[in-house]
Amino acid sequence: MTDSTRTDYLDLDTKDETFLDATELVLNMGPQHPSTHGVLRVILKLDGEKVLGTECVIGYLHRGVEKIAENRTYAMFNPYVDRMDYVAAVSNGLGYCEAVEKLLSVEAPPRAQYLRVILTELCRIASHQVWLGTHALDIGAITPLFYCFRDREEVLKIFEKYCGARLTTHAFRIGGCIYEAYEGFEQDCKKFCDAFLPKLDEYEELLTTNRIWVERTKGVGILNPEDCIALGVTGPVLRASGVKWDLRKAQPYESYKDFDFEIPTGLHGDTYDRYLVRIEEMRQAVRIIRQAVDGLPQGPIMAKVPKVIKPPVGEVYHSIEAPKGELGYFIVSDASTQPYRIRVRPPSFVNLQALDKMVRGLLVADVVAVIGTLDIVLGEVDR
């Protein structure tokens, strides 16, 4: 029960000018807020409903992954990387395995490389589906969430059949893959591709020309290419600003040079363009999966890697195009069984830094849209 006459908390003798005439208001959003996709806290400085500035407070999910790495062997650390970007665990594993392989100067056999590409591209689709579902939900469209999660289930089923895990898969090992493709793997992938393209059109039917969607996303959170590069933003956010740059083409790793695919780009660098870019990326991922399944070579799936991994003294930086952007691993080896230092360059962490620039001058509701469009995963931001 509230007592409307209660005034003891107000100091009535002095006129409170700061409160009545204030044009600036500081509002705390998160860390427990459904649209911040985890435990992100954003301090908003507002003028009415207009955003004057923001400050991100992160670290709530910090587990010290880089410190853990220094106390584990190379093989033992492999499952940990899946827990960073847990929406795209396969990509994390790929980046890590490739970095260690580079350090060891071994290369995965062709069949393993193709399997890796298939699973990574499936993972890209799954990651983009989670993004689309939650992003649309944040803006107020509930249906895409159910559609996306329904179809993502098919990808997770393939993962489950392949390696027994659905989310934190630990699908790859240093030197290749440990699991051979199961009976019917190719058919499952093909079936998924055939079924998924019409589903993608369904998503587009729901959103692409939807008036509410277009008005909430067009012209919101614009980033021009110069800002993107200065801020180190990568992935679909960079491409939506018109920079045609994708590590799969710029510095091909695995067997990506064997496949024919396009890099979609946007024109305006707004939330709507980022949506279109990611939708098109899913189509391209299907194209890659189909080519890889058709061309899947026979042969071994594991390179000759010693039982105890002891890379020579040296350091290596290797990065891949994860669904969120450039995911890099910087590994320093001192010729022992444990890495001397592992630094993870997380795309979400760097992309999140652009939030402030993107939301200045917009409304509070647009902040929600922009956080969604950046596609951050707090497990990776905080590590």
């Binding site: 670290g59 910090h62 360059r345």
Partner: protein
């Protein structure tokens, strides 16, 4: 290279050699060396499609000039290096902890910081428990 030259060289890399994208800034701790820290700048050029690493060694307590004026992205990256290693970047607009809580003692990625160590005092005050383990 010498740590006093780093800023000049980074500036040159950015403007003359067109390394316009600062991929990462990180550090490695070698406690047995006199200059304990390696600071690593990973740069990429969209024009040349090339990646380079620039490394410098600094002593404990030595400061470096910030790269935020060259690449905006250095802001959070340098804050993380400060948070994890305690390396101070002069001229940084907002140098404070980023992943660890404010007021935490110690810099976790230094080699003399054991994996089970934590700031007991901070844990007690803020979480109200004796130990987090």
């Amino acid at each position: 290279m010498d740590s006093s030259l780093v800023y000049e060289i980074l500036l040159r890399m950015r403007h003359d050699e067109l390394f316009d994208y600062c991929v990462d800034i990180t550090a490695v701790h070698y406690p047995k060396r006199e200059a304990q820290f390696d600071i690593v700048y990973i740069l990429y050029s969209f024009h040349h499609n090339e990646r380079v690493r620039i490394k410098t060694q600094i002593k404990d307590g030595e400061h470096l000039r910030t790269a935020v004026t060259i690449w905006e992205t250095a802001n959070w990256l340098e804050r993380e290096v400060f948070d994890m290693f305690g390396i101070v970047f002069d001229g940084h607009p907002d140098l404070k902890r980023i992943l660890m809580p404010d007021g935490w003692k110690g810099h976790p990625l230094r080699k003399d910081y054991p994996i089970l160590q934590q700031d007991q005092e901070w844990v007690k005050i803020n979480l109200g428990i004796e130990s987090g383990q």
